[in-house]
Every structure is written in C-alpha cells, then in structure tokens.
C-alpha cells in the first residue's frame, strides 16, 4: 500500500525480512520476567494498597500477618523511611515520595505495606491480616479544582497542589494577536489513560550484604536516568545497583518506566530479609497503581488572518501528574515544548505551563508521551479555524505547513525540524487514500439521513529525545545552577569471536518491536554476512553493557539512535577488518567489498577470503597484525547528535533529534440507534525517513493506531469524586479488541534525516498522537458539534445528541 516504493538501500536494509525473534516466541520459548528461574530461597511479595484516595496513616498492625506460617516479613513505610530516601524528580520540591507510603496515602492503590512470604498465595492471605487505621482526608481528583484554594493540599510542605507555573514567550505573540483578523480558541480536556501492556511488572531483587549492593532483574524499559533515581533512593553508588532485564518483555509502550519505584521496594525487602524477593504485579494492581498518561486541560487560541494564515498561538496547559511528581515528570509537558507550533510555520507563541497534583495514580511514560495531549488541542483548533473561516481543513493545513525548502527548520520554541515535505505527503495521501471518495460517501450518507463525518490531523512526530529538554521547566538561573543538560548518548558494541561470528550489545531494551531483527539487518548489511548469523544480546545488564542515562526504549529512539550507532560501530569494524584483509588479498582497502560472507576485491571477486577467517584472526594471531593496528575484536561506538543542545537563555529547546510527519484522515459513521462510532475508512500517511524493515515499521504504525483507537473510543481512568477508582478491571477499563480495531490504510513517504547515521527517524508513537484527534474531528463533523471529549464511548456520543429526548408519558401514549 506504499505510495512510494521502499528504498532498498542494500541487500537487507529496506527489506521486510521475517523476524529473528519469532521462532522462540511462537513456540512458547520466550523468556519473559516471570518465566526465568530464580534462586531456590526466593521469597514472594504482595502489596497492601490504600483503599483511600487521601488519608493520614495511623497504626499499621502487622502482628497477625507475621504470625502466619510462611510469612517472613512485612515491610512498611517505617522501613522505607529508615533505609531509603525519597525519589528525586524533574522539579525540586519538598515532596517526600517513598517506595512505600510514609505517614500519608495520596491515591487509591498506593503501597502501604509489603508482605514477603513463601509464595504469592500465602502473601495474599497475609494481606488480609494486616490492620491499618486511616484518618480519611478529603480528596481532589479534578485538576482544575486541585489548584483552587478550596482544594485539599496533597503535600503540605509544598503548600499548594500547583508545583510549577511558567510562562514562555517566543516571538511577539501580543502584537500578532492585536494585528490578527480572527482569534479562534478552544478548550479541551484530555483524559488520563494508560497503554496497559499485557505483561505486568516483574521484579526480582537480591541484596548482597558483602558488597552492600543489589542485583535486580526487572522488566524495566528505561530511560536510564531512572537508574540514578533508584540508586540515589537506595543510597548506593550506581555500580552497586546492577539492573538486568529479561530477554523478552511483554510490551511496555512507556509504561514499564514506572516499575522503578518497585525496584527500590523489592531491593528494600530483599535487604530486610537477606533473601531474594520476587514480585509479579497483577492486573488489578497494574490498572490501579502502575501509571497513567497525564491528563491535560488546554486552552489554545490562534491569531489568524483572512487568508487562513496562522500568525500566533496562545496556549495555556494545565497538567495533571497525579499524586506525586514521579521522574521523569513533568517531562510529559515539556517533551513537545520545542515544537509547540506543530507542523506549522507560525512564528509567535505564548505558552503558560502549569504542573499540578491530584489524588490519582502518578503519571508517567505512555506511548506518545505528551503528544496526544498537545496535538489534540492543536488539531481540534485547526478544525475550528477551518469551520470558522469556511475553509477546507486540508487546504488550511497546507497553507500553514512549514515548506519543504525551509528544512532544516528552526521552530520558534527551538525545535530543529530535520527534513520533510509536508505538502507533498498530504497530496499523496489525498490521492492514494481516496479523500474525494470520502467526500462522496459523506454526501451520500447525509442524503440518506445518516450521520457521517470526515476528520483529519497533521502531526510532527519527534523522536530520540534530547535528555536536556526536561530542564526547560527550570528558569535560566536554576539551569545554570544545576549545569547544562543535553544530548542523548547511545552506545553499541559489536564483538568478533575466534570463529569469526558477530555479536552485538545494544542499549535499547526492546519490548517486542523487533530490534534484534533490525540490528541484524544493519550489521549484516555492513559486514556482508546474513542477518540470521548475527547474535544480538536480548537481555540488558547494567553490569556488563555500555550504557548512559539515555539508554532504554522510549521516545522512539531506536531507529535514529540505536540502529544508527550500530551502523557506525559496524562501519568502523569493517574499516579495521579491511586493513587486515587488504594484506591477505593484496588489494587496496578501498577496493575491498564485503558480501555473501566473503571479503573480496571489487576488481576480481575471485580474489576473496571468508569473512569469518579475517574476523576471527585477531584472536589467533594478534602478534602478526599490520603495523599500528590494534587487534580487531571489538568496536564500541558512542554517538550523540550535536543538534541536541541544552535549552538556551531564551528557553528555546530542540527536544528531539529527528521529526517525522504524519497525516491522517478518516470517515466515520455514528449509528443513530446504538451511538457506536464505526470507522469506515482510515488513512495514515507516514514519513519516518528511511525504513530499515518496512514490515516492522508498519507493525509500529498499526500498534500506535490501535492505541489511538482505544484512547479515542474507549479508554479512560475514571475516579469518583472521592477518588475511588472505577476502572479497576479489564471489564471496566476497555481495551479495544479485534472487533473494534479496523485495518488502517498505511501510506509512506521517505524524507531521510540529515542528522542521523542511517537517515532514519523514530516511529511507533505517531498514530497514538494523530488518531485520537483525527477521530474526534470526524465525529465533530458528523454531529456538527464544537466540543468533543474523549473517549467517545457510545453514552457520551448519545449525550452530544441528547436534546431530542421525548419526555415520560409523551403525547399519544395510552
């Protein structure tokens, strides 16, 4: 379905080869966290969690629980306070967030105690025997209410639930608004939801009293900035917290970032019992207390001239981070800060960013991370502008897009958009995705009295984050105090063994994306061997691998960062092997080619040597290496893009390395009887730069789209006014199934990134940013309404049309 054929840039690059991961996963031989053997003396943990959204903790009586057979220990906040430190976060505030609640609970589900027992069944039995007295406090779950003076304050030392309030000005927005022909605004509320991987958290922690350190297995996904957060909480040097991940991870989508407090909790438990302690989160715990995307209330206003040209944005964002500001928050609010102008070339922006707390689960990484919230506001606004100016919504967007010749383009808030041709991508989407056909269908449906609408959305998908973007929340003076933060260091090591086969260690922690396949393609391409001959270490071990704070699988960093750095490492290795081979073949290095498992002269292919012979030779005969050549057994590449600078004095920040582009449009029909939304036709045009393996990329698009469907139509964490959680099972938190997710039509363009080694850009998050708002725009069009709130469950759709309800005993009744 590609509108442009895939660039085959090699034997393996650009091809949809089958995945090297699949044979094991399809036969039940995957090695997920809970599949791995543990030491025979391992104990099992279960959490007692708060039933109150906000309460002072009184007595925790654990004596009955401790008396039970098979129970070894009960860990409480007292232990946490005695042996660990509160977690640090992206804002310095006097918030004491421990791995187990201390003195007060602030959301339903917050850990209150941990039972450590012989097995999980007994541990759960013991939970029922712990007696806790709570003094309930009033709770606030609505972020708009939480910042009023009447709201209960969650952290008294802070004095308010408002943790940060910053206003940024780029260009001259006041003048732009004064001069504008039109001002169009919209207020939107983005709900809290979560990507709910099917595998929940798993942690096995072992304390080593001799070293005073911890060895932890967890299905953590990064970023490794959090390794520092964990080590600081445990009060150990980073090299005393060895963190390993299982070879397979059952999905994450950002969420498994939030396992980190539990790593500390299990480390603490293992220290207290001096035995390994294992915890497998169950689904009720996961839904209740793992993580949520931030909720956000945004008021956005545009200054627009009569031609439909947008001159300025005025944005007010209020972010709901839940009960604690948990690292890396408030990153959700700042990830997209540099490209607040979206795909558009407006030059003036005012933005006010407020970060607030509520008595709900703390927020954290979720696919799209800040993007769904931002683009919901921008792209709903674009539709409102189109309606107001009676313009075609696509024409309006095209008129405002950054132009192809402007790339690389510096956005007013600092993002450096690397490449793209937005107009052309949209033109191709309109043609190949049959936009005109949708218009016909809408006309026909409306003529028949059916409710049919069309929507679209344009999204710039940032990837490979600048680790310094979070510091934009600090002012220039504070930043100067803590020192500049920037860059995104990636480390890949390629190793040759004595028999000349190739092994690779990468610093991404895949959770199903097929990283091993893609890396195998990159390495095989460069070294002229077969992808299946390359071994990629699948589990991660902080005690062995090279890593930095940027390590992990988030912000779509894999294709630009990890694949790119693997390419650099393999290329250097190849150059060094060439120096060995040229001696052997008596050919100049620039005349050498690597292919089909051989190294040969391009002038005379018969003059060749097996790759593995040269690759293994440094092990066998290091004494006969050419003058000045180190043994060729290993190459480690470290790479960070120079474009990722720290925020400047004017708060401009380039938050990401590469910026892809997505243009979606869809046709939906609203059933007049059931109020279900049927997605009739969905098109997503994607430009992610060069594609290493198109099938893997399409898989990411389909998955992000499915998450977008969930966010648009079903998923919301609901609390009642007292903070009780109403979405606590998979029968209440509705994840779309095969009957609810249609097949999108996927189209591509390819604008290679000039800033990444392979020209690749990240992908995998974009449709979770574009799909929710695209569907919302279509439903707004179908129903002719201005305000749309997600998720569009049928009862809420019905409410949008509720003015025609007949009253009881209407005329004509008997």
């Amino acid at each position: 379905m590609a509108s442009e054929s895939v660039t085959l840039w090699g034997r393996f690059l650009g091809r949809s080869i089958e995945r090297v991961e699949d044979a094991a996963l399809l036969t039940g031989r995957g090695r997920f966290g809970d599949d791995l053997p543990v030491r025979a003396d391992t104990l099992h943990a279960a959490f007692l969690r708060s039933p109150h959204a906000h309460a002072d903790l009184g007595v925790i009586d654990v004596s009955d629980a401790l008396a039970m057979k098979g129970v070894e220990a009960v860990v409480t906040g007292e232990d946490a306070k005695a042996h660990t430190k509160p977690f640090v976060a992206g804002l310095k505030q006097p918030i004491k967030h421990y791995c187990v609640a201390v003195e007060r609970v602030r959301y339903v589900g917050e850990p209150v105690a941990i039972v450590v027992a012989k097995d999980r069944y007994i541990a759960e039995d013991a939970l029922e025997k712990i007696h806790v007295t709570y003094q309930p406090l009033s709770a606030v779950v609505d972020v708009e209410k939480s910042i009023t003076s009447a709201a209960p304050v969650l952290h008294e030392a802070v004095g308010s639930n408002l943790l940060s309030d910053r206003t940024f000005i780029y260009g001259a927005p006041d003048e732009a608004f004064l001069d504008s022909d039109h001002r169009v605004n919209i207020t939107v509320r983005y709900p809290r939801n979560s990507c709910t991987p099917i595998e929940c958290f798993v942690v096995v922690a072992e304390y080593d009293p001799a070293k005073g350190g911890y060895d932890v297995l967890a299905n953590f996904q990064g970023p490794f900035t959090l390794h520092s957060v964990m080590a600081l909480a445990l009060g150990v040097p980073a090299n005393r917290l060895r963190l390993r991940t299982p070879p397979d991870s059952g999905g994450s989508f950002g969420v498994k970032q939030a396992v980190f407090p539990y790593v500390v909790a299990m480390a603490l438990a293992s220290r207290l019992v001096c035995r390994p302690v294992k915890w497998v989160e169950d689904r009720l715990e996961h839904l209740l207390a793992a993580n949520a995307a931030t909720g956000r209330v945004t008021r956005i206003e545009a200054a627009v001239n009569n031609e439909g040209e947008i001159i300025a944005f005025d944005i007010d964002q209020l972010e709901d981070c839940g009960a604690y500001l948990r690292a890396p928050e408030p990153a959700s609010l700042y990830r997209m800060h540099g490209n607040l102008s979206g795909a558009y070339k407006l030059r003036h922006i005012r933005v006010r960013n407020r970060v607030a707390l509520t008595n709900t689960v703390p927020s954290g990484l979720n696919r799209g991370f800040g993007g769904p919230q931002l683009y919901y506001a921008i792209e709903r606004l674009m539709d409102r502008i189109a309606v107001r100016l009676r313009m075609d919504p696509i024409e309006l967007r095209k008129r405002n897009f950054v132009l192809a010749e402007q790339f690389p383009y510096r956005c007013p808030a600092g993002a450096l958009l690397d490449s793209g041709d937005y107009q052309r991508s949209v033109d191709l989407a309109v043609t190949d995705g049959k936009w005109q056909e949708l218009l016909r269908r809408r006309n026909q449906a409306r003529a028949e009295g059916r409710l049919y609408g069309i929507g679209c959305a344009a999204v710039v998908e940032s990837s490979m984050s600048n680790m310094g973007y979070i510091t934009t929340v600090l002012d220039a003076e504070e930043r100067a105090r803590v020192g500049p933060k920037n860059g995104a260091l990636t480390i890949v090591t390629v190793t040759l063994d004595p028999l000349g086969s190739v092994s690779v260690v990468i610093d991404s922690l895949p959770q199903g994306q097929g990283h091993q396949t893609a890396i195998a393609q990159v390495i095989a391409e460069v070294l002229g061997i077969l992808p299946e001959e390359v071994a990629i270490e699948s589990g991660f071990d902080s005690g062995v691998a090279g890593w930095s704070i940027a390590a992990g699988n988030y912000s779509s960093r894999f294709a630009p960062a990890v694949a790119g750095t693997a390419y650099l490492a393999a290329s250097r290795l190849r150059d060094r092997l060439s120096r060995l081979a040229c001696q052997h073949l008596n050919v100049a290095t620039e005349k050498l080619e690597f292919a089909d498992g051989k190294i040969f002269s391009s002038d005379n292919p018969a003059n060749s040597v097996p790759f593995r012979r040269i690759a293994g030779s440094s092990h066998w005969s290091p004494g006969t290496l050419p003058e000045g050549l180190e043994p060729v057994v290993r190459e480690t590449a470290t790479w960070t893009p120079p474009q990722l600078e720290a925020p400047d004095a004017s708060d401009r920040i380039n938050g990401a390395t590469a910026y892809g582009f997505i243009f979606d449009f869809c046709g939906v029909e609203v059933d007049r009887v059931t109020h279900h939304i049927r997605i009739d036709h969905y098109v997503t045009m994607h430009d992610a730069g060069r594609r290493i393996n198109p099938a893997l990329l399409d898989g990411q698009i389909r998955g992000a789209f499915a998450h977008g469907i969930g966010a648009a139509l079903f998923e919301r964490f609901r609390y009642d006014d007292d903070g009780q959680f109403l979405s606590g099972t998979f029968a209440d938190y509705l994840v779309p199934t095969a009957c609810e997710v249609p097949d999108p039509i996927i189209l591509h363009t390819e604008s290679p990134s000039p800033f990444t080694p392979l020209g690749t850009k990240g992908a995998g998050e974009g449709q979770s940013m574009s799909t929710p708002v695209c569907i919302a725009n279509a439903v707004a069009d179908a129903l002719g309404v201005d305000d749309i709130e997600l998720p569009l469950t049928p009862d809420r759709v019905a409410a949008l049309m509720s003015d025609d309800e007949p009253s009881f005993r209407s005329a004509g009744a008997k």
């Binding site: 999980r120 069944y121 759960e124 039995d125 029922e128 169950d282 689904r283 009720l284 007049r672 009887v673 059931t674 109020h675 279900h676 079903f714 609901r718 109403l726 979405s727 099972t729 029968a731 209440d732 509705l734 779309p736 199934t737 009957c739 609810e740 469950t793 049928p794 009862d795 809420r796 019905a798 409410a799 509720s802 309800e805 007949p806 009253s807 009881f808 005993r809 209407s810 004509g812 009744a813 008997k814």
Partner: protein, 275 residues
C-alpha cells in the same frame, strides 16, 4: 489475584453434591464452568470453605427435547448448546443470543445453568430464560422443585435457590409456530456485558419484551399489537420506567435511548419472523 484457601470436592453423583451443600451450612460454592466463580475467587470477592466441582457430574450433559420443552443439564456448556443441532429450530432466541455471551473461550467452559445461577443482571441467558418464561429444576436433599424464571432470579447476583439447592437443569419452552423471536444487545465491545439487552417474542396477538442490563433482573412487559406510534410511546414509557440508573458504564439517558431505539429495532425483527 490468587484464590483464598478452600476444600475442593470432585463429585460423581448428584446426591453427593446435595449432601455436601446440606452439610456445609451455606459456605460451599458450586463450580461448574467457573467463568464467574474463579474470577471472583481470584479477586477474593468470595471466600467459600468448600468448592464442589460439578463440571464432570455424570449424566448431566444432556440437551433433550420432549413435550415442547428443551431440558438442559447442569454440565452443558454454552458452546455445547451452540453446537446442538436442534438449536435453530427449537430455541431460535438462544441461537441469536448465545454469540453475545462472553467469548468463545469462556463459552467453552461456562455452563448454561451456571449463568442462570450466577444471575448477573446484564447477562444474556437469564434474560432469555425470563423472556421465554422457562423454568429451573432445583434439587436438594429435600427433593426437587421447579421455579419459573421470574421466581428464580430475585436480584443482582441473587436467586431463590436455597443454600442447599443446586440448579440441576433448565427447561426452555421450544419455539412455537406463529411466534417470532428477536434479540438485540448493545455492549461497548464485542463480548462485553450488555449495557442494554432486549429479547422479544412476537405473534399476531402481541409482543412480550424482556429487557436486561437496566435493573436488578430482567424486566418483562407484554403488550397487545399496536400501531407504530403507540409502540414508540410504550417503549418510551418503558424507557423512563427502567432507564434510571447511571453507573460507571453508561448514563441513564443512554440506557433510555437504547430501550427506545434498540427496542424498536428488535420488536421489528421479531415481528418480521412471525410465520
């Protein structure tokens, strides 16, 4: 999410079941398909002292048709019933409703009687039993008694079954010529519990309409045949009568709207089938 401790009895005779129930003073629970029971155990919503496994009770996997009644034994799964060759002819309403019951993977184990015994207000099978005015055969050490559907289900997850009684079988009246059957449901996702489910029996005399998902148990109305606008009014009044509860799944307005509109659609379907 692990079950609490309980004794487990694997029984091979009906009398063993009722003996255990009589002896255990209401603390025993029957396990047939377990699709609700074990989920409730995993969440520790119930803590029985004894679980009596009747899933392989001999001689209770029968589906028999005699004297105008289809009798279904207590080990018959929902999938078994779906695969019963006589289903379309004898129980057309169930033929339509069964695909809405959970998912194939739960129907493979969940029993027909178990769903009736569980008495979820939004479940399809209790709705069908009520719509068809079927009966449950209850058995205890005191003997057997038969309750009509409306006598059996008394509230949310509550039946008139005494603690020492079990549902040994169900009796569904077989389809009658001249009656059309309709079933319609709205759930948010395929296989979810109903927001509103409606079963209709229609004949040239009138309609019998059963509504699930809106109150503690299926609600039944019988109306003579009437003109469209009167039918709309009747459905509207029914909607206002029943559609008052708002919960985390749906607003009251939405439920009323479904009773009106889905009700209209299902009545129409049933009428179209009147032979």
């Amino acid at each position: 999410m692990k079950p609490p401790v309980f004794d487990y009895a694997f029984v091979e005779h009906l009398d063993e079941v009722v003996e255990l129930l009589a002896a255990d003073g209401g603390e025993a629970r029957l396990l047939a398909g377990g699709q609700s029971l074990i989920a409730m155990l995993n969440m520790r919503l119930i803590q029985p002292t004894l679980v009596v496994d009747i899933s392989r009770l001999p001689d209770h996997d029968f589906i028999t048709l005699k004297e105008g009644v289809v009798e279904i034994g207590c080990t018959v799964t929902q999938s078994d019933l779906q695969l019963w060759p006589g289903l379309a002819e004898s129980l057309p309403l169930l033929k339509r409703a069964l695909p809405w019951v959970g998912h194939r993977q739960t129907r493979n184990k969940g029993t027909v009687c178990g769903s009736i015994a569980h008495a979820d207000p939004s479940a399809e099978l209790p709705l069908c039993l009520a719509a068809l005015n079927g009966e449950a055969v209850l058995y205890s050490s005191r003997g057997e008694r038969v309750l009509a559907a409306h006598e059996l289900q008394v509230g949310t997850l509550e039946t008139a079954c005494e603690p020492d009684e079990m549902i040994r079988a169900l009796r569904f009246p077989r389809a009658v010529p001249g009656v059309g059957y309709g079933f319609g449901e709205v759930a948010y996702r395929h296989g979810d519990f109903a927001i509103v489910a409606i079963a209709v029996l229609a004949s040239t005399e009138g309609v019998r309409i059963a509504v699930g998902g809106v109150s503690e148990k299926p609600e039944i109305c019988e109306w003579p045949l009437m003109e469209d606008r009167f039918l709309n009014d009747a459905l509207n009044d029914l909607a206002w009568k029943l559609g008052t509860t708002e919960d985390q799944h749906a607003t009251a307005y939405y439920r009323r709207s479904l009773i009106r509109k889905l009700g209209r659609r299902v009545v129409g379907e049933a009428l179209a089938c009147v032979g």
